[in-house]
Structure formats: structure tokens, C-alpha cells
Symmetry: C3
Subunit: 205 residues, 3 copies
Amino acid sequence: MTFFDALDILGTVAFAISGALSAMNRKLDLFGIFIIAFVTAIGGGTIRDILIGNTPVSWMQNTTNLYLIGGVTTMSIILRNKLDYLKKSLFLFDTIGLGIFTIIGVEIGIKAGLEPIICVALGTMTGCFGGVVRDILCNEIPVIFRKEIYATASIAGGICFISLYNANIDQNIIYVSTALLIIIIRLIVVKYRISLPLFTIKTKK
Amino acid sequence: MTFFDALDILGTVAFAISGALSAMNRKLDLFGIFIIAFVTAIGGGTIRDILIGNTPVSWMQNTTNLYLIGGVTTMSIILRNKLDYLKKSLFLFDTIGLGIFTIIGVEIGIKAGLEPIICVALGTMTGCFGGVVRDILCNEIPVIFRKEIYATASIAGGICFISLYNANIDQNIIYVSTALLIIIIRLIVVKYRISLPLFTIKTKK
Amino acid sequence: MTFFDALDILGTVAFAISGALSAMNRKLDLFGIFIIAFVTAIGGGTIRDILIGNTPVSWMQNTTNLYLIGGVTTMSIILRNKLDYLKKSLFLFDTIGLGIFTIIGVEIGIKAGLEPIICVALGTMTGCFGGVVRDILCNEIPVIFRKEIYATASIAGGICFISLYNANIDQNIIYVSTALLIIIIRLIVVKYRISLPLFTIKTKK
């Protein structure tokens, strides 16, 4: 197992926990909890695969992640009242997941020979759209459209990846730089409560 | 026409009626009623086809079902105030639909050479996700995430199908056993008002 | 650049503006505004491409529209308080967009050798489903299911296209006739406040 695989697993675990907590907060039943955990962890990659025509989608070709998500969700349910104390590490895991999944998405775009802007979009979708599908299924306006720099950090990471890639930098350095950039942006944003500007339309009175 | 085809038609009819009634309850207009009936009847199979890369999706390759859904929806609108008396048979039809569509989904997965757990997932998606898309379009939390054993019955049926298939049982016996299992679970669940457990998170006061 | 290309651009521009205004009305942040503008303009075509298996989807193969949508959305944000005066032309652009996108969808269906009813469905999805995805992301019941003749105009246009095509009419005449039919239906419907009938279910008291 490579360092990259380990990070992939960390990302999947973090997203599964985040999905399971989210579902329990919304009082979904046992089945709902598993589905939402599953969707949060693999939704972004699934949408990416569908858009580029990589079918059967990844989780159908390699089922390891399914069992991982199942196990993590079961643990989340058992430990649900203790996870509160894990919130800080959860935020870190989630951010690591965002970093890793962005990298995976960008790289798949490059391998498919797509244009740089599309590679960045694929990275962002892989990183963020699991959460979007989770929020849609739970009947809420996806949180990334409202207040987080979440997607913006992912976009910045994607641009960083593509730039370093075009400069022929060593792959491992690209991975680490991209992930670090995304993590640092998220940490700064959350620490200083930065948010993207809103543009409201004036209505006449 | 085989017995299997007849059941397929029954399932499509039941899901179309259920979608049309659902749309009228939400005061959608004529177009909305047809779209929701259509989506409820073919949504699960469409998501399955997209995920495994079976495109153009089934209803584009064989349009018989489209005309069937159109006719059934028209009848549902005309008879909308009489369908109340049909509720019990509707529940039965709907459950038959769940059984048949689960079988179709599992079998497509097996033919595509996918792993057993994925075949079960495809069966469940084929059976249940029409209703999920219907609820999302109608801006509600999908009902299967909240209180029904619906999906659980479909999963049990899928596991039954795969087990019998691996034991080299005759195909017709597999079909009947799987469908019966799903129907019996649903009947028991509804009769005894069984539901999956909820796991809520304690909040400090 | 052909007349057809010019219309395509006009349609994309109109849908992007409509999406951006919609997002600002819902107080989404900067990222949300761009995503919703993007989804409104390319959502219909994306769903069409996924259903027929035309992947990577169109906007990944030709990125011109992405830059166009980005520019238009930026302008919409800057001019957001002046766009009020443009409402009438916006409605016209939007209707032109519906006409053009319906044509594009029908034609793609014909080229893929699909049945007439499927070609009409593809035209309607290309024209309307960007707005449907926009409404789902914004957590509202899609407006086309509730009060507009929007989709119905698109369906009528699709049927017109197919009929003329089967009669071997010159392609440019088909384009103009289809677009005009859709635009005229929309204008009449809005002017005379026509809407599709609702069918409600009587409840016993």
C-alpha cells in the first residue's frame, strides 16, 4: 500500500463519518444512514465517472471502499455520542479528504486527455459533489453554495496541480503541494471566518 | 409474452399510478403529472443504466414502456377520485413492482459480470430509486430514508437471488422465490408496523 | 460562425444570466452564483449526453461555452441592479434559448438513430432540464412542474421538428419553424396567462 492509497482511505473514512453524522442529525433510519454515508463518500467520484464515461463507475469495479464505508458507518452509529469529541479531527480528516479527492479527480482528467479547465472541474466535483448529493437527498440547499470556501479551496488546489504538472514537477511533490495548499486555505478560512462575498439585488420600495 | 414480461408490465403500471397520484397530491400541473409518473416508473432503471454505462438507457431503446406509462397516467387522471378504493391493490402492485424491478436489476448486474454486492445494489436501485427521484423532484426527503422497510426488502430479495443463482437453482424458481420474499417482507412489515431503528445523537443541555 | 452558432451563443448567454439572477435572489455566495449559472446553461445538455452515452459530455469536449458562461456571469454580478430593466429582453432570450436548445437536442437524437418520441424527449430535456437542476440545487420544486407552459412549448417544437424532418423539408426551414413555434407559444401563453390544468384529488370530509 502506497502513501497515496493510505490518504485515499483516510479521505473515504472522513467523508463516510461526516455523512453518517449528518444523517443521524436528520433522524434518518438505519438504511438512510448507510445510504447517506455511502453517497457522501463516493458521490463525487461517481458524478465524475458518469460525466467522463468511465463506466461501470469506480466503486462497482473496486468494491473495497464499499466494505470500508460499511464498517466506518457501523462504528459511527455505535460511537455516535462520542464523536462530538472528535469534531476537530473530523474537520481535519474532511479537509484531507477534500485534498486527496481533488488530486484524484484532476489526475483522472489529465489521463483522459481533457483540457486543464476541465481537469480542475473534475477535481472540484470529485472533492465536493458527494456533499452536494448528500444535501440534496436531505432536502437542503447544498452548504457549499451558501457559506463555505470549501469548493474554492478545491479549485485553488486543482489550479496548483495543473500548473506544477505542466512545469514537469515530480508527481509526489505535486500531490503534497496540492493537498497542503487546500488544507492551509481551509484552516485559514475557518480560523479567520472568511467567506465569499454575497451579491444581493436591490429591490425597490 | 412470457410470465416475466407480464410482471414487468404490472410493475411499470403500478409505479406509474403511484407517481401520478403523488403528483396530483402535490398539485402539479398536467405536464408535471406525466413527468413524475414517468420518472417513478423508469427512474430506477435509468440510474442503473447510467452507472453501468448501458447507454442509450433502456427506455430509449425500447419505447413500449413509454406509451404504457402515458396510457396509465391518463387513466389515473380520469379516475383519480376512484383510485382511493384501489389503494390496497395499489400497495400490492407497488410491492410486485419492487420485486420484479429488483430481479431485473440483479440479473443485469450478473450479466455485466459485476460482483455480488454490486448486483444487489443494482437490484435495489432499480427497485427503489424511481421513488427517490420522484421525491427529490417534489422537494421532499425521500421517504425510503425515513420510515419504510422498502429498500431493506429489496436488499433481502437481492441477496436471496444471488445465493440461489450461485447454487445453480433453476432461473424461474429464483424469480418466484425472490419476488415472494420481497412481497412477504413488505406485507409483514406493513401489517405489524415494523420500522428500522433510528439513532439520534444526544445533545448536551 | 453560422447563424445557428450565433443562436446557440444567445441561448447559452440567456440561460447563464437567468441562472445568475436566480442565484443572487437566493443569496448564494460568489461560488454558488457561478455554479448555478453554469448548471442552468449546460445542465440540460449534460443530462441528454449522459442518457445517450455521449461522454465525455459536450462541455468537456468544447470548452468555449464555459468561458462564455464565466464572462456572462461576471457581467451579471456587476450589472445586477440594472438587469431589472432587461427583464423583457431576458424573457425573450430565454425563450430563444429554449427554442435553440430544443432543436439541438432533437437533432442529436436523430443523428443517434433514436425513435421520434425519444428525439422529442431529448429536445425537451436539453431545453428544460438546466432549469430543473437549478431548482433542485436551490431546494425548490422545479417551476416547470407547477405553472409554466415552458416544457409544453418545447414538446410542441420537437414534434414540429420531427414532422418537418420526416417530410424532407430543408434543414434551415426546420430550424426557423421550430424556433418560431416555440417562441410564439411562449409569447401567447405569457400574454394571456394560460396555464395547464391542475387535477386535484377530492378528499372526504
